[in-house]
């Protein structure tokens, strides 16, 4: 089962990544040259992502590319695209996409709870990473992350999450999800560099972050994010486990 799905997705992944490379390359000039030695000033680059929701078509190419690039186990995601149908008063239903990933927060609650300092924020570039050789798999960080961005990888039995593809950025490449994004909705780059594409997008657009009330100071920004979706989305769920299925509309008041 496992390997056959892998092989199947493997074929798709190669095609998709190959086809998308030029798009992403054209799209974010600064990021393609964004190796750790390439930043502006003494402080070096500070990585961040802008997700332009106007361009996301919910194709899940990023979801697949991430799984392929990072050998994410079958029952988990480092990134995925949530899809919602939003019906506003007097308007037609609209499909809304929301790519989710670790926000590489500047105030990450996951880091301070780790009992053995296995998860840490990379000096300078700012990725929040897990040292899998030290992680005891206590899952405290999984509880503390307000974005459900972490999980326990049952193949390594340690905490796992998006790394902003640190192994790629260190080699001067873009993260796999950015590279593969069909619509060019994911833009990655140096937030310290005012000339980078991400910085210019932040300067020229109204952007928001997920769950600002958690004061985590995310480094993933969204253009065109509906307020109703920036927190816990109190809607009708796609997945209904037994005992909650009997509910028609569960009347969450938010």
């Amino acid at each position: 089962m496992d390997s056959s799905r892998r092989q199947f997705l493997g074929a798709i992944g190669q095609v998709t990544i190959g086809a998308a490379a030029t798009v992403a390359g054209a799209n974010s000039a600064s990021a393609t040259t964004g190796s750790t030695t390439d930043g502006k000033g003494a402080s070096g680059p500070h990585w961040g992502m802008v997700v332009d929701l106007r361009k996301c078509i919910g194709c899940q190419a990023c979801t697949v590319a991430c799984i392929m690039e990072n050998a994410v186990p079958e029952d988990a995601f480092r990134t995925h695209v949530s899809v919602y149908e939003v019906v506003k008063e007097g308007r037609d239903p609209a499909m809304v996409m929301l790519p989710r990933l670790c926000n590489h927060c500047d105030e990450p609650p996951c880091v301070e709870v780790c009992p053995v300092q296995a998860t840490y924020k990379q000096e300078g570039t700012g990725e929040v990473l897990v040292d899998a050789s030290r992680c005891v798999g206590c899952a405290y960080c999984v509880q503390a992350c307000p974005y459900d961005a972490r999980f326990i990888n049952h193949e390594t039995q340690t905490a796992d999450k998006c790394t902003f593809c640190v192994h790629r950025t260190e080699a001067g490449l873009l993260p796999a999800c950015v590279e593969t994004c069909v619509g060019g909705a994911r833009i990655f780059g140096d937030l310290n560099d005012p000339e980078s594409t991400v910085s210019r997008l932040l300067a020229s657009n109204e952007v928001s972050v997920l769950r600002p009330e958690m004061h985590t100071d995310p480094n993933v920004y969204y253009i065109g994010l509906d307020e109703a979706l920036d927190g816990r989305v109190a809607g009708e769920a796609a997945y209904k486990p037994p005992l909650t299925t009997s509910l028609e509309h569960h009347g969450e008041g938010r």
Partner: protein
């Protein structure tokens, strides 16, 4: 506005039922320890019968709890890292030191309390006398039991604080993020401990007077649990704390949670009424309901809390265990605990434990009453 989630990720519970077992057992252990103090630390002989039961409870749960904790780690072989790479900002890191101190002091305290009886059993001429001679270390003196007890009490306060805070600081889960949680863990821990003591009292026929006394203490603990629960609801409904209000809103609409609320209310009120109306004849029933109430509170907090999505909609299915695998932690730790109970009550002269003799009192040495 209406929102329907069409594609979303389901997150499994990362803290498994083992964690529920740990918090359940350690909560009972620490509160039972305090219930042993009137006799063994404060020297009140009239409290001996229930203090002996409390000590059995404290020791057996105090050993099986940390075993469950270890099993909840996905890398149990790396537990030593807790002590080498201690991260000062993490309550869990402090917890590892506190748990270690607590278990050590608890076992020392239990040993000191039972030392005179170990000594007596070692003096008799019988098959296992050599074991007890070894355990007594050549003397029946145990005046130091009180000071060790106080040390264990300080560590127990540490446990109650850290277990509560460890969970309460997780602001990403509004259901956990309440300053009332440490108090709830302590109060429901006492309910569970008294439940175990009532059942043990029945098993070892400690008599109606002791049973009535423990039932009255149970009633008090249940009232306290009820008051804290009511306070939580009042805060959530009043809107003075956004996080409490959000916690209630995230679950109130689900029938499964409405049933849990009714169940919890029943688990407080039913044993409370029975304990007040028939305190000297109801130990089995109040005891078993109390144990169940303490366990169910933790199951609801941990598994129920993890069933609430942080960003997605609806509920995940952590609340109900799926298959035998999820229940193995529960079955395994209960099995270990019951095994320890049998071992302890068979091989430790618990019924002969007296008020520690610090030289100020001179009581006649009681007769040995071996059970093995």
């Amino acid at each position: 506005m209406q929102i329907h989630e069409l594609v979303g990720a389901v997150h499994e519970a990362a803290w498994l039922p083992w964690a529920v077992q740990y918090f359940f057992l350690i909560g009972m252990s620490t509160t039972a320890l305090f219930l042993s103090f009137p006799a063994f630390v404060l020297g009140r002989a009239s409290s001996l019968p229930h203090a002996r039961l409390a000590l059995i409870t404290a020791v057996t749960t105090g050993i099986s709890g940390p075993v469950a904790l270890l099993a909840d780690l996905h890398q149990p072989g790396r537990f030593w890292e807790f002590f080498v790479y201690t991260h000062a900002t993490s309550w869990m890191a402090w917890g590892s030191w506190i748990v270690m101190s607590y278990v050590t002091l608890l076992l020392l305290y239990a040993w000191a309390v039972n030392r005179p009886a170990f000594y007596r059993w070692g003096q008799d001429d019988w098959r296992f006398a050599w074991i007890f001679r070894f355990l007594a270390f050549g003397s029946p003196a145990n005046g130091f039991a009180r000071i060790i007890g106080i040390g264990a009490g300080v560590a127990a306060l540490g446990i109650l604080t850290y277990t509560g805070m460890e969970v309460a600081v997780v602001y990403s889960r509004p259901l956990w993020h309440t300053p009332l949680l440490p108090l709830q863990f302590a109060a429901t821990g006492a309910v569970g401990a008294l439940g175990v003591m009532l059942v043990l009292g029945r098993l070892f026929a400690t008599g109606r007077v002791v049973e009535a006394r423990m039932n009255r203490m149970l009633a008090l603990a249940l009232v306290i649990v009820g008051i804290i629960g009511a306070l939580w609801f009042a805060v959530a409904l009043s809107g003075i704390s956004e996080s409490h209000t959000e916690a209630l809103a995230s679950v109130a609409g689900f029938t499964v949670w409405q049933r849990i609320a009714l169940w919890a209310a029943a688990a407080i009120i039913i044993p409370l009424v029975i304990a007040v109306v028939a305190p000297s004849r109801s130990g089995w029933i109040t005891g078993l309901i109390a144990i169940h109430a303490a366990w169910m509170f933790r199951w609801t907090v941990f598994m129920g809390g993890q069933a609430v999505p942080k960003v997605g909609s609806g509920l995940y299915d952590a609340l109900m265990p799926t298959g035998l695998e999820g229940l193995m932690g529960v079955i395994g730790t209960f099995g270990l605990w019951i095994f320890l109970l049998i071992l302890y009550t068979t091989f430790v002269p618990w019924a002969e434990a007296e008020v520690p003799d610090d030289g100020s009192t001179s009581s006649a040495a009681p007769q040995s009453a071996r059970t093995v």
